[in-house]
Symmetry: C2
Subunit: 255 residues, 2 copies
């Protein structure tokens, strides 16, 4: 269902086969099955060494590579689509509606629900999309990155879009523990407690065989880490240990 309605990823004049491969890997992870290429720098079908580099970067996403269609122009590549988006950082002299990736995926899902076919254009590595490409798109998608360092590469941009498609169905909210008047313990505070536990258990002969110890300690540590102790609880546990191993407790353990 979702597969058929996914936006088509359209790489316009991509330069590096490594980026094409990495893009397909991101797509395969995120249930985007269809890629189109517009005039890739290395003409398709690729020669053997290029194909090897491509396959290495794709890391097994061969189904997408094998079915990718190549077009001469961006206009041809989007010919059968009902809505086209362009992923780009800046618009020079055009006015177009600009969306975040998340908002765009909401729209794309809505188009898909009406049976519409959509595509997203990505420009070449160095130069990005030119006006002739941008004209083929109805809207712009802009990743709202750090304005002082907006430098996603091609494969990273595809991954962000693909990931937003993956998560377009929304997710359940979660809550964190309420620590009341205390605060979460630092990991160091928890490790100190766990180390003390281990020392004390060593001393009290808890580990009957040396072979069993690593697995037992791992399970114990893991269970206590899962508890998300507060700083107060760590102190309480130190008190408990002191109490258990003090004159009375120790007597009992040894008795």
């Amino acid at each position: 269902m979702k597969m058929n309605s996914a936006p088509i990823i359209i790489l316009v004049r991509p330069q590096l086969v490594e980026n094409i491969g990495a893009a397909t890997r991101a797509m395969m992870n995120c249930n985007l099955p269809e890629m189109r290429l517009v005039s890739p720098r290395d003409p398709w079908p690729l020669n053997s060494p290029q194909k090897e580099r491509l396959k290495a970067a794709a890391s097994g996403a061969d189904a997408i590579l094998d079915s990718a269609k190549v077009f001469e122009s961006t206009a041809e590549a989007v010919g059968d689509l009902h809505a086209v988006y362009a992923s780009t950082a800046r618009l020079r002299d055009m006015v177009k509606e600009t969306l975040t990736p998340r908002a765009a995926m909401g729209e794309i899902a809505a188009h898909a629900a009406q049976g519409g076919k959509t595509g997203i254009l990505f420009g070449p590595e160095r130069t990005g999309l030119i006006n002739e490409d941008l004209i083929c798109a109805g809207k712009i998608i802009h990743i709202p990155a750090n304005p002082e360092f907006a430098s996603f590469n091609l494969a990273q941009s595809v991954l962000v879009m693909a990931y937003e498609w993956l998560t377009a169905n929304g997710e359940a909210p979660v809550e964190i523990l309420d620590y009341g008047k205390s605060r979460p313990a630092t990991r160091e505070e928890v490790f100190n407690l766990l180390d003390r536990f281990e020392r004390e258990l060593d001393e009290t002969g808890f580990f009957t065989t040396i072979e069993m110890k690593p697995a037992m300690m791992q399970n114990m540590r893991n269970a206590l880490m899962r508890a998300h102790f507060s700083e107060q609880e760590v102190r309480t546990w130190h008190g408990i240990l002191t109490s258990l191993t003090g004159p009375h407790g120790r007597r009992k353990a040894n008795g």
Copy 2:
């Protein structure tokens, strides 16, 4: 504000400096300023050739690289943190709460609002995190990827987390156009209309100088693409053109 409360990205025993570099690039794009390294395969400080490969992949995110701290163990690397998450695909023999990246960033933001310091562990490229690392984390973050092809690489996983941090503040919803009884036109249908417009304008002598034509056509095409025509509207415009250029219209244009 947000910078100081961002989760610390902790790469555990990373093997390839290219991945460390690509991770810092993703971080810099997404306002994540702090990286920690646990026993990287190539010991730090790096030698010259390694450093060059690192810097090329980081693509200018030097501030993060220069301030990255190196630790001998995962436990040391998370010592001062209040909550730790582990990014991993599968848990072998441990029980831990598992969150999506989006849900985790909600929690991390909540921790940050309480002044808590958080970190996210990422394992080595081939093997992933081992139990000794996972014990240092309170919860697991799992990217809900295609179960038949879950193969994000290290840099891609860091990008997904960083991107979720970037967008953790939520966004405004958007709406798409209501096409009523029609449907969105395909791009091909729109291009055909635009091509016809151009031919007709050529014939009617609209372009007074040949130099002006490309810019004028671009502006006109762009404006009409922005309109998101329905299939019905495309037909209407063809009718309008036919009418304008027919015997009566043409007479007027030439008259």
